[in-house]
């Protein structure tokens, strides 16, 4: 039986987080009422003309610089012509032969091995409007709000060979775009979407197999699932003596199946030509250099710093850097004096949990990094136990007060009074004679039970270290 290799290239669409659209001053805010963000320009009314949003050019150049691309000093916009009701001008303003960024790469890691994935190009374009269909009435509705929202299309080399690698590449792109602040990359809102080009070939064969393109995948899960579906399908076709047809495919995430949309023969001729309503875009080298200078620390460098400077594990560094809001919070908390490991733990477990509980996003932690640093200090100097620390954290989500004020108001200060602890320990031993006997006969785990009893009796406030020592002393 032949062993096959999968070859994958991605086309990633990133919606840029500019305040206004690419060619007019309409707002880009997601979720606004239908048809409230439109004007003669994005509606494509006769006579209206586009004017490029400088911010889009800047964001596109930054995206290229952050992905090791060459940013062009001279590029232009082109028209891609096709008819569809969601495209008011019957052409999309995009870039054809002179994209703003070319020849980049990113290092990814998947299944424990690293590799470099090439980026062919990044270009700027406008999004189309949104159509919705009512199956009952047979009517279609058009929403102009998305028309002219700026997009980047990032086209990779066919350098990935597995779903895991494709996912890693997409994750890398997501964290970079978020880190440099050009996109919020919310897949559920469609601000990060991906087309997968995939072919298979017998291992050792140099020539590529015939590829298919699965369009518009909007979650990591659908990327992974559609890839495993499509590679299996193609291998099955070849194994049974069939031929792969070059075609565009669609993925049904609910059913977990892909299906053919149109074959290459039916593909449109887009009749690209230079957009005559816009002048070429000139980016002087000094401007490009200044943009490069302005880039924040990129994820790969940050991950490395978290490992070497903060002493975090590779997995922890990855998890934190993947969410720039958390990573920024971490850096600021550490700058305010927090111990890196302790701060990292809060940002990986307690804080994400509480954000979710409170329906908040990653950017909406309701207290400052300095507050987190204060909380950690209070745990580390034994003012409170770590379990009390978790309760203080929860309080920080519901009230505007410092950890100290919360502890005081709730009477949560850790008890380090020897007399009190001694009394509670004596009571616990008296109430649980069997456990005491077990410990004495060498069953070490009985001690944990007794510690728990003391902690419960003191409302979690007893200093656990002192409780431990007192128990050992009395039971020895």
């Amino acid at each position: 039986m032949t062993a096959y290799e999968t070859v994958i290239g991605l086309e990633i669409h990133v919606e840029l987080a500019t305040k206004s659209k690419i060619f007019c001053s309409c707002s880009t805010t997601f979720g606004a009422d239908v048809n409230t963000q439109g004007c003669p320009v994005c509606l494509g009314l006769p006579g209206a003309l586009p004017v490029i949003n400088e911010k889009v050019v800047e964001f596109a150049a930054k995206a290229g610089l952050a992905t090791n691309c060459r940013v062009a000093n001279y590029c232009k916009m082109d028209r891609k012509n096709y008819f569809y009701p969601d495209l008011p001008k019957a052409y999309q303003i995009s870039q054809y032969d002179l994209p703003i960024c070319e020849d980049g790469w990113l290092d990814i890691e998947a299944d424990g091995t690293g590799k470099r994935v090439g980026i062919i190009r990044i270009h700027m374009e406008e999004d189309a409007g949104k159509l919705t269909h009512n199956d009952k009435t047979g009517h279609s509705y058009f929403d102009v709000n998305r028309c002219g929202v700026p997009l980047l299309e990032i086209v990779t080399q066919p350098h990935m060979n597995s779903a895991a690698e494709a996912k890693a590449m997409l994750e890398n792109i997501k964290e970079i775009m978020e880190t440099i602040g050009v996109s919020d990359c919310k897949m559920e809102e469609g601000s990060l979407r991906c087309d997968v080009n995939l072919s298979v070939r017998p291992i050792g064969q140099e020539a590529f197999g015939t590829r298919t393109e699965t369009k518009n995948l909007n979650s990591f899960r659908s990327v992974v699932n559609s890839i495993s579906f499509e590679e299996k399908r193609q291998i099955r076709v070849l194994e049974t003596g069939g031929k792969i047809i070059q075609e565009t495919r669609r993925w049904d995430d609910e059913l977990g199946v892909g299906y053919s949309m149109r074959s290459k023969e039916n593909e449109q001729d887009y009749r690209y030509f230079p957009e005559p309503d816009l002048v070429p875009i000139v980016l002087p080298q000094e401007k490009i250099d200044a943009l490069k200078e302005s880039l924040p620390e990129l994820p790969a460098i940050r991950r490395n710093r978290y490992k070497t400077v903060y002493g975090l594990s590779d997995a922890d560094a990855r998890q934190l850097v993947f969410v720039p809001a958390f990573a920024n919070f971490l850096d600021e908390a550490i700058a305010a004096g927090a111990t890196p490991k302790a701060a990292a733990n809060f940002l990986m477990v307690g804080i994400p949990f509480l954000l979710k509980e409170n329906n908040l996003t990653e950017n909406q932690i309701p207290f400052s990094p300095a507050i987190l640093a204060e909380l950690i200090a209070l745990i580390e100097n034994n003012t409170i136990s770590s379990s009390i620390g978790s309760q203080v954290l929860a309080e920080l989500f519901s009230q505007k007060a410092s950890p100290k004020e919360i502890i005081e108001a709730k009477g949560w200060s850790q008890v380090s009074d020897t007399g009190l602890i001694s009394q509670a320990v004596a009571a616990a031993i008296a109430e649980n004679p069997q456990s005491a006997a077990d410990y004495k006969s060498g069953k070490g785990q009985a001690l944990g039970f007794l510690v728990g009893q003391v902690m419960r009796a003191t409302g979690g406030k007893a200093n656990p270290k002192m409780v431990n020592e007192e128990l050992k002393k009395r039971l020895s």
Binding site: P40, P50, N81, A90
Partner: protein, 486 residues
């Protein structure tokens, strides 16, 4: 002389000296339109009530001691491919028969600010595609000097309106000669400005890289006045550019001493009518007499101008006109069975034959496999045409050229073979290809008394010199102050 027959400058004086009120001026104009436009067909729509209301408003301001802006009280006609808020803007097409733009073109905002009073929207070749206004979906416009002949096109309505005293001023658009050629045919002055000096925002596009809005007037002075109002950079048009504002007054003292004027030998080749040759000789004599110096230059790519123009303009048009699909506004065909069917029926029924011809031609030259041979090649020739002009302008300040090879033709005379009509554009298209300014000014008449206009072509932003020389030609030519009998 009737109020409606006066030039803009004369009307300004009349209003200023209180010999007539603004409502009287506008009323006179509206009555003239009512009585005479049925013979000419210059307008697609008129706005008598709105115009009178505006006239009365301005008169009140004037009587309250306010000062009138530059074009205060002056009636103006607007080509029907320039968007006017809440006023029908049809492009003389069935496709936009009911289209009322929700916004004003930049030139319209400027005119309104300057006090001009829009009396109507003028007829044109559908989507500005044509040289005779015969391609209007609505009606013919007749040449006021001989109503059996065409007024030229595509801005035939605007040129005829000014010639027939249906408006002292008008705006047109020029993509390949659409201002200058009808100006020449109707015996009025028309300027195609340097590409970028007049905002295209709100001009319904035919060919974006060639289109330019420009003024029509009864004489050179009025033409310069209107250009001074509509020109200037516009942040809404990325292709707009104007290094310094145009000052119309500084350019009309008629001094052409020391100016070097080029004559391109390729323009004097066969195919130029006798009347045009005579007019050229006359103009050369006038300008020489006034102190200008003539030099011979060469524009060797002249024979490629028309094909290059039709490839580029049709390519852009095929894309620009894609939006008329029956989905959002304008005409929608009935009984469509599918989306594709709706597109096909709407576009087949909504566009006239000439528009469909140019869309097909443009689609073809942009198609994969043909792009390099046609569109790309045309762009390369375009670069060379610009270089030819640049070389010529190292030897002279401007060129004197015919506007048209022939006099206005009879209706239907050139309809059988579209290429016959395309070839009439030979002297006008190259300025659009190179983005240069050109002005057509009436100089003489042909054997039958029809006006003959000549063209002055300048380097980019060379309008000042063009107006100087045009003024001399007008003052010393045979056509000053002549009005058709209607």
């Amino acid at each position: 002389m009737q109020l409606y027959e006066m030039t803009a400058l004369a009307l300004q004086k009349v209003i200023k000296e209180k010999q007539a009120s603004i409502p009287e001026v506008v009323q006179s104009q509206l009555k003239r339109i009512e009585s005479t436009d049925p013979k000419i067909g210059a307008y697609i729509s008129t706005f008598p009530e709105e115009a009178m209301a505006e006239a009365q408003k301005q008169q009140k301001i004037l009587e309250a001691g306010g000062t009138l802006p530059l074009l205060g009280g002056l009636p103006i006609a607007i080509k029907d491919n320039i968007c006017t808020k809440d006023m029908l803007t049809t492009c003389a097409s069935k496709m936009l028969y009911n289209f009322c733009p929700p916004y004003d073109a930049t030139v319209i905002s400027k005119l309104k600010e300057a006090g001009a009073i829009i009396v109507g929207k003028t007829n044109m070749d559908e989507f500005a595609m044509g040289s005779s206004t015969e391609h209007s979906a609505f009606h013919l416009t007749k040449n006021p000097w001989d109503t059996s002949r065409v007024p030229g096109g595509s801005s035939g309505g605007s040129a005829a309106a000014v010639a027939a005293s249906l408006a002292p001023l008008a705006l047109g658009s020029d993509t390949g000669g659409s201002i200058r050629q009808p100006a020449a045919f109707c015996g009025v002055v028309g300027l195609k400005p340097t590409y970028g000096t007049v905002s295209r925002y709100g001009l319904i596009a035919y060919a974006s890289s060639l289109d330019q809005i420009g003024p029509f007037a009864k004489d050179v002075t009025d033409c310069a006045l209107l250009y001074s109002v509509i020109s200037g950079p516009d942040p809404k048009d990325s292709t707009s550019v104007m290094p310094k504002p145009f000052n119309q007054k500084a350019n009309l003292e008629g001094n052409v001493k020391g100016l070097k004027i080029g004559l391109a030998k390729e323009y004097l080749a066969n195919g130029l009518s006798f009347a045009n040759r005579q007019a050229l000789a006359k103009a050369q004599a006038i300008l020489t007499e006034a102190g200008a110096e003539f030099v011979e230059v060469s524009l060797p790519l002249t024979q490629y101008n028309v094909p290059v123009y039709y490839i580029i303009s049709c390519a852009e048009a095929s894309s620009n006109l894609g939006r008329y699909d029956g989905i959002k506004y304008g005409f929608r065909a009935e009984n469509a069975e599918s989306l594709k069917d709706l597109y096909e029926k709407t576009r087949s029924q909504g566009f006239g034959a000439e528009v469909q011809r140019r869309i097909l031609l443009g689609t073809y030259v942009l198609s994969s496999g043909y792009y390099d041979a046609y569109y790309k090649k045309a762009l390369q020739v375009r670069t060379l045409v610009c270089q030819d002009f640049a070389a010529a302008f190292t030897k002279c300040n401007m060129l004197l050229a015919p506007t048209t090879p022939n006099s206005p033709w009879q209706f239907g005379e050139k309809s059988a073979n579209p290429v016959d009509m395309y070839l009439e554009d030979i002297f006008t298209v190259s300025t659009n290809i190179a983005g240069l300014p050109g002005i057509s000014v009436p100089v003489a008449q042909d054997e039958t008394g029809l006006p003959v206009g000549l063209q002055l072509i300048g380097p980019a932003f060379g309008e000042e010199n063009l107006f100087k020389a045009a003024y001399v030609l007008e003052q010393k030519g045979d056509r000053l102050g002549l009005l058709p009998r209607l």
